[in-house]
Amino acid sequence: MRSITFGWTLMAAASFATASGARGECIGDFNGDLMVTAEDLGILLANWATSGDGDANGDGYVDGEDLTLFFSNWAAVCPGSATEIRLACQPLVAAPYASFVRTFLAGAAVTIAVDPTLTAVTAGQVADLFVVDARTAVQWESNPALVDVRGVSQAITYAAGTVEQNRFTVADGSTLSANGGLAVGRGYDLVIDQDRDGTLSVGDLVDGSDDRCALWITRDPGSVGSYPVTTLSSYTASGATTGFTLARLWYPTAIATLGQRPLVVISHGNGHNYAWYDYLGTHLASWGYIVISHQNNTVPGIETSSTTTLQHTAAIIAQQATVAGGAINGKIDTSRIGWIGHSRGGEGIVRAYDRIFDTPSTAVGYTLSSIQFLCAIAPTDFLGVGSANPHAANFMLLWGAADGDVSGIPTNSVAWSFDLAERSTGVRNTMIVHGADHNDFNSGTLNDFVGPAGTEIGAIEAKDVAKPFILAGLKYHLESELGLGEFFWRPSASLRPADIAPTTILVKEFVVPATSNPIVIDNFQTQSSTTLSSSGGAVSATVANISEALARDTDGTFTWSTGNPHNGSVRDTASDTQRMIAWDWTSPQSMEWAVLPTLSDVSEHAYIEVRVGQGSRHPNSVTLNGGATFSVVLRDGAGIEARVSSNGSGEAVNRPYQRTGSGTGAGWQTELRTIRLRLRDFQALGSGLNLQTIAAVRLEVGGTSGSSIGRFILDDLQFTKE
């Protein structure tokens, strides 16, 4: 939680702060959220009989006097602030009863929720809910007047009970406009005007007082955008390799009325054709992008492919005055470029980026920093870590689990697309599309589907997956439309473009870079002992057959064997260094990581998350024969524990695509997905958990905590921010 303080209240707040040793601005507010709640009580108890936080009377010692003083101010809302909390949510049928999210597809119902155990509200109290156009923090401070975009605010009445009884459907939420012009969506902030004065003021509850929006109401990114599109079927790029000079161009017909727009370059795969990406070029241009798809010199290899990507990027910038009669002249924003590559072209764009990284002069008319987004569709990995390395570029990977070409087959690491993703140190997201094959993502006529009968989704469906997610990647990275980032990790049951069938299985991974300041508990890189985390804390476990090793299937077959504990991991060539942990269970068991005191304050973070997949063809996975679930337990310094199930928001760990071959049995490569659990959920329903003193993280399986049997491969256990 976060509070914003208005200038005119600063003096009042200062004069109210009395207690020495109290972290907040008023008595009992030990966590500084300007409210006196169970969270503060947890802090007091955690520091009982010490000189730490919880010393309400300022005598240097936490004791009964502090407790009495604390309760005298119980549920107080400290002066001088409105309180930032998360309000927008999707309701859940079971605890924690609300999944707090920001992004809603236009037309969907919008709900808000207030947890009385975390936020001081009184049963029977009436307040006004305002949905307002999004404002930045500066705009809120200069203009706190509340203007509801619906024309009138909505009265809500708090009920006795828990968050379950205090969920409110936003009236007309399904009619909120999502039209943001060039943006796919449109932002709103939410305010509960507690004193009903029509102004964001002391004691009000606000979601979105910072520079993020409370709500991102988005048009369907799979739908056609706002702009009619003009297509130039082909033009000739000067300076491109002989035989590979042709390219196709798409741009908004009304480009003259727009400012400079980002450039998107599509590099096809081997034996493919630059004219096979009309579906993507048209789609992206309808959302305001200038898009080219070029002939790609893929037959000799990846180096030549990267050369044509570099040549065509430079050429369209250099020739903009003449191509298409000069229609795009002056309209290319050379500081914002996205490269999309398919197959060998997917590795080619990574190689091209790597070449600029090594030799900046390789880029002509733009720079390395211009390339703000790499999207590889089923890329090969011929060159390995030394030459096919996306470094810190923002990286997206799409891969069809029925790919009959770049298949992930364990005997050939060239077919391991995920190597490239693991090398990325930027923001990266990957998506496995069950039932899609290699050539479903272009308009060619080759069918390379390999998978169980009845699971083929077809080329139309695969393109319906590619279009919205690639658009979301471009908008997120090139135009800071952060609300679309939730498409990268929320399960389909929670957020799904309409053209994608509910039955299509998408396995999503989202990994934030070190620059976003996650608190990493264990990434399994720097500490090979299974009893010590990479962050230095002790690790204890009751789970079985623990193995911390490179994410590499070492025996050339997907058949399970005990000598190959990371069976199904095809993410590390011989030169890569990505390590992960694997273990299994057949009864209620767990693994627990101690959190060092220096890392224990996670109150400014939003999620605990982990990348996790099922061990392919392991006997336990075979027995489970479905999605696997687990629970995460957080324990604070006072010993208070709170447990959240991965299953609360439909967050099961996918069963690997049941493809056969490469040994006996069914199940292809291990499919890692990111499961994010909101820290607020651990505080729901009055758990009293103190997020400032987290002492341990525990993953529990079996019994009431999750699936009764299974095997996991895990990585990147960490606390992350929004």
């Binding site: 404002r135 012009g181 943006a183 929006c213 081997n270 096979w276 010199n297 290899g301 069938a501």
Partner: protein, 241 residues
């Protein structure tokens, strides 16, 4: 999922103006003028890659034309990027399973004589047509003639790997593998008189003509046809954040 798989192609075929009039190549047996029109999209199943080298690939040379270039170029089909100043532009017919385009390594196309072996360039895949247009490099002698002897020449599919990674040592390994696989000399074909071309651009143009003739589904045209606009929605101003 009940929607049917549907694939389309936007490949546009236009007959190119002949730039290489001196070529007198025979039409492959059974190919008619009508067959040169745009092939209808046909969904083809990706065949498994046969083991190579093998005599099973059934490589047959359909046509062969000597070429001498006035301006040499550095080939991308060898890691050493040697200069190429001439060679033979050929059309081969082979097992479509070998010709199928793949992202993973494809079989090298190799050619050898008694004293030489080369990594052959190719300009199309030939999966649908069964025909691949290739170029076998050859040094050019002092008198402007191609220096290599084609008598007993073998053309075959070698180990799958990226041509840009191939060096001289690998080529010798490929020769040994071909010998072990009992790759035989390719049946001789009438070689058209050697022609002079200006440079690689002209060589590519020639190859395109042959692709149009023997593998029309792989022509990539330069025509410009504006597409119909998609339905517009009135744009509004972007939001503040």
């Amino acid at each position: 999922m009940t929607r049917m798989k549907r694939r389309t192609t936007s490949l546009i075929f236009t007959t190119r103006i002949a730039l290489f009039a001196s070529l007198t190549l025979a039409m492959p047996a059974g190919m008619t003028a009508a067959a040169q029109q745009v092939a209808m999209p046909v969904i083809s199943v990706m065949p498994a890659l046969p083991v190579t080298p093998s005599t099973a690939a059934g490589v047959k040379v359909i046509s062969m034309q000597g070429v001498v270039l006035a301006e040499s170029y550095a080939t991308d089909f060898r890691s050493e990027h040697p200069q190429v100043s001439g060679g033979w532009i050929i059309v081969i017919e082979a097992d479509k399973a070998v010709l199928a385009p793949r992202a993973l390594a494809e079989p090298l196309v190799l050619a050898s004589g008694a004293k030489w072996i080369e990594s052959v360039e190719w300009f199309n895949h030939g999966f649908a047509s069964g025909h691949r247009v290739c170029f076998v490099p050859s040094p050019v002698g002092e008198k402007g003639a191609l220096a290599r002897d084609t008598e007993g020449m073998r053309i075959w599919f070698g180990t799958p790997r990226l041509p840009e990674s191939v060096d001289a040592a690998m080529l010798e390994q490929e020769r040994a593998l071909a010998d072990a696989a009992k790759i035989q000399p390719t049946p001789p074909v009438t070689t058209a008189a050697t022609v002079q071309l200006a440079n690689r651009d002209a060589l590519i143009a020639s190859a395109r003509e042959l692709i149009a003739q023997y593998a029309p589904d792989e022509v990539q045209s330069e025509s410009a046809t504006p597409a119909a606009p998609v339905a517009p929605v009135a744009p509004v101003a972007p939001v503040a954040k």
